[in-house]
Amino acid sequence: MATTTLYEFANPVRFERIAARVFPVALAAAGLLGAVGLYFALFNSPADYQQGDTVRIMYVHVPAAWMAMFCYSAMAVSSTAGFIWKHPLADVAAKETAPIGAAFTFLALFTGSLWGKPMWGAWWAWDARLTSVLILFFLYLGYMALWRAVPDKTRAAKLAAILAIVGFVNIPIIKFSVDWWNSLHQPASVLRAGGPSIHPDMLTPLFLMIGAYVFAYVALLLASMRNELTARRLARMENAGVHAPASVVER
């Protein structure tokens, strides 16, 4: 789009170098942890005393729900950083986190629904936890829609950052919804006062899967950030030399 864009003020070269090294490592780690984690989740962990084998859905569901919230928090933090320090990479990171976070949110809702039908007896219940996570999904969609709708990407970054920061209020609501209200959804099992209420044999696959999800996020984020930066550089090269900034001359 332009010769001299604001994005030139950042130095993407160092980012490129680091990203090129980290990406394959993260991808491999995600694959490995995911494979081992799924093996444990499906074959090498006990069935629950109440839920039976349905408990195995948890190993996909819980990490997805955590990542849904983590991605939004990461988006809000990098939006704040982009807003305050005007670092273009922060804006790109926030932008590229959104679709990944939305995918995790969808996965959490979908697997939760699969679990809910046999266990609760309903695909869906409008309780505080489920509702607030659904709202999170729509917040992601709104954020992405705003980025798409604003043609000037410098402006889009600022406006989307404001929206991401405002929407962050939903994150504590999701986290504490099960404590504040009598909800159908069970309270926290892992991060709670008094230690996890999950048997250690079940924690192993859970933590392996969480590791896999985190590395998958890192790999996906780096790949899409590199894509975005390359696209911007291409657009810049296409217009190289067409416009130079004007300067002021006394007449």
């Binding site: 069935a47 005393y49 839920q51 309903a122 504040w180 909800s183 159908l184 309270p187 079940m202």
Partner: protein
């Protein structure tokens, strides 16, 4: 003081007051607790029985589940208790997997008497404990098992 400084003072004073009021209102509301469901004790505390459909949550009392044949289909009846009060529930339909005595449930329906309800829907409420069956049995044998309370 310039007008903008004065306005900034007003703005931040207003924000502070609004924030304090919002926090106070939230604390008030959470003490009264907005609930996805009532417990039998809360229902008893209401005095009158609500006419509109409600949700009721609690533990299925031990030995209270009874099946009956009816012309319209099988009807299951059970008692929901929470230590303070109890409600007899009648339900014609499929029960979820997790439904069993001693387990938390949330039922949806209309009150048909002082402590009687006809449910349209029964949802099992899972707790935050996950463990293999053998462990649960062992804990029960050792007598360290504690039945958790729903709606806590």
């Amino acid at each position: 003081m310039s007008p903008k400084k004065q306005q900034r003072l007003i703005l931040f004073g207003g924000i502070f007051l609004a924030a304090a009021a919002a926090v106070a209102l939230t604390l008030f509301a959470l003490r009264g607790s907005i609930t996805y469901f009532y417990t039998p004790s809360e229902l008893a505390a209401l005095g009158e029985t609500p006419s509109s459909p409600i949700r009721l949550g609690g533990l299925v009392a031990d030995g209270s589940v009874a099946y009956a044949k009816a012309e319209t289909g099988d009807v299951v009846s059970f008692t929901i208790e929470d230590g303070g009060s109890d409600v007899r529930v009648h339900f014609a339909g499929l029960l979820p997997d997790l439904f069993r005595e001693g387990q938390g449930v949330v039922v949806q329906g209309r009150m048909t008497g002082a402590r009687v309800m006809t449910a349209d829907n029964v949802l099992a409420k899972h707790d935050e404990n996950y463990m293999p069956k053998e462990v649960a049995d062992a804990l029960k044998e050792q007598g360290v098992w504690k039945e958790d309370e729903t709606g806590s």
